[in-house]
């Protein structure tokens, strides 16, 4: 536990010491609020669940989270510090988990920046706070899954820029891909077809959260996606050793 904590602390120290965090926070707030006020129709909608804000979080995360994860492994490789990390008496799984948890803490920080909006809504509107909490949980789980995928891509790349572009592209495909065309060719029964289509779609699970319909499969989807990303990162690092 002490090793894991030291690694997370190191990651955060490096990330939070420069301008990185400030720039990231500012970009997140500007982008989120722009989409919320100008496209989401914050003042037009009945905003009891902050739908105008949360409904664009998947788009915002596709642009912001790769900036958090791109440096995870790509920069360690670029500066040679990966040799230091991989020759320490610590398991690969712990190293990967530490970087993943550090990225997740950045996601939590970004979401925390939107709290004033929640407070504002509580003062001026009749809000459905349980629905808002469910939306925050959904956003965090989606962000965590994106972090795991971004971390795996960063483990392949030596350049942060390439890691950013590749992660954004993959997250975009994962979020907006229409699985119906692939599944249609499998000639499945209608019920199985629509069930499978919904299960695979990231947006479908995310929208369940922001509309307050939390269910086990939504949690399982994002947790499994995170596990897959973490597992892939470990495998990639092991492969690169050989």
């Amino acid at each position: 536990m002490r090793q894991l904590y030291a690694l997370i602390q190191k990651e955060n120290l490096i990330f939070f010491s420069g301008w990185g965090l400030l720039l990231l926070g500012a970009s997140y707030i500007v982008l989120s609020m722009f989409l919320n006020f100008f496209i989401g129709g914050f003042f037009v909608l009945d905003n009891k669940n902050l739908y105008s804000y949360f409904s664009f979080q998947n788009v915002v995360f596709i642009l912001i989270i790769p900036a958090i994860t791109m440096r995870s492994w790509a920069e360690e490789r670029k500066f040679g510090t990966i040799e230091f990390l991989l020759t320490q008496p610590i398991s690969l799984a712990k190293l990967v988990m530490a970087k993943y948890l550090s990225c997740c803490s950045s996601v939590a920080f970004l979401l925390f920046l939107s709290f004033p909006l929640w407070i504002y809504c509580n003062v001026y509107y009749q809000t459905d706070n349980l629905n808002i909490i469910s939306s925050y949980i959904g956003c965090f789980l989606m962000g965590a899954a994106f972090c795991a995928i971004g971390s795996a891509i960063s483990a392949i790349c030596t350049s942060s820029a390439i890691a950013y572009i590749s992660t954004s592209t993959i997250l975009f495909i994962l979020s907006f891909m229409d699985f119906s065309k692939i599944l249609y060719n499998l000639k499945l029964q209608q019920a199985t077809y629509s069930r499978l289509q919904n299960s695979l779609n990231l947006d479908y699970h995310f929208y369940d959260f922001i509309t307050g319909q939390i269910s086990f499969d939504n949690f399982a989807y994002f947790i499994l996606l995170s596990c897959l990303g973490i597992w892939l990162t470990i495998r990639i690092l092991e492969y690169k050793k050989g």
Partner: protein
């Protein structure tokens, strides 16, 4: 003890390390010698488990580095050739981080850090960011971090690069004191260092172990009685 057995590493068709065998015991200071691209760094990286061998094995005190990586690495202090320091951290933060990820007990951590700082004379720069340090200081921070957990094996790749003559003398003194009950592997191109420090020389050329002898013997292999000439003649002979 370190036992390197039939160790090979291929990069495509190129054999970076080709069937290398040797054993090292406590109290030995071994110098890995060889021209650029001979395979010294690859060999050290395999001993530290950073890269996996194509074939062969490395065992550290009877444990295979591939199978019991964590147990083996807890007994190794490694300073790679190129910058492995986190430039955004201060010297103190970096040393503390190194101590914590090596699981040094809390009660010993500060004592070990203080000891390492004293040995490598880092008192004036402990609060400075590593990126602002000179090359020599960066090297000293690296060396200090490697001995924090008092490892039984110290593996140093070009350790004196960037050190001033005074620091080089102090480094040699440190190695002499530290080597009594430890295994030290030093990769260097500086022949004076080999003569001053090493009990044993392992000469590598084109991935192959071409000589495993003492510096004294190496020196007297040729009529010139000079270690530099011996190095030159052996490495060119093999080519």
């Amino acid at each position: 003890m370190i036992v390197v057995k039939n160790l090979c590493k291929n990069y495509g068709n190129k054999k970076a390390v080709d069937n290398v065998n040797f054993g090292l015991s406590k109290g030995e200071v071994v110098s890995l010698l060889g021209p650029n691209g001979a395979g010294k760094t690859t060999l050290m990286r395999m001993i530290t488990g950073y890269i996996s061998p194509t074939s062969g094995s490395v065992s550290i005190f009877g444990k295979d580095i591939g199978e019991q990586r964590i147990e083996c690495l807890s007994q190794i202090g490694y300073v790679p050739e190129n910058g492995f320091l986190y430039f955004d951290m201060s010297v103190m933060d970096f040393l503390k981080f190194c101590g914590e990820i090596r699981n040094i007990p809390k009660q010993n951590l500060w004592q070990n850090i203080k000891h390492a700082i004293e040995i490598f004379e880092l008192e004036d720069v402990v609060e400075q960011k590593i990126e602002n340090l000179s090359k020599g200081y960066k090297r000293r921070v690296g060396l200090a971090s490697a001995i924090l957990h008092n490892p039984d094996i110290l593996i140093l790749d070009e350790p004196t690069e960037g050190l001033d003559p005074n620091q080089k003398v102090k480094f040699r003194e440190f190695i002499r004191n530290y080597s009594k009950e430890k295994i030290i592997i030093i990769s260097t191109h500086i022949m004076e260092e080999v003569e001053a420090l090493a009990d044993r020389v392992i000469l590598i050329n084109s991935g192959k172990l071409v000589k495993d002898t003492s510096p004294e013997e190496l020196k007297h292999l040729f009529p010139e009685n000079d270690i530099k000439t011996a190095f030159y003649k052996i490495t060119n002979e093999v080519k």
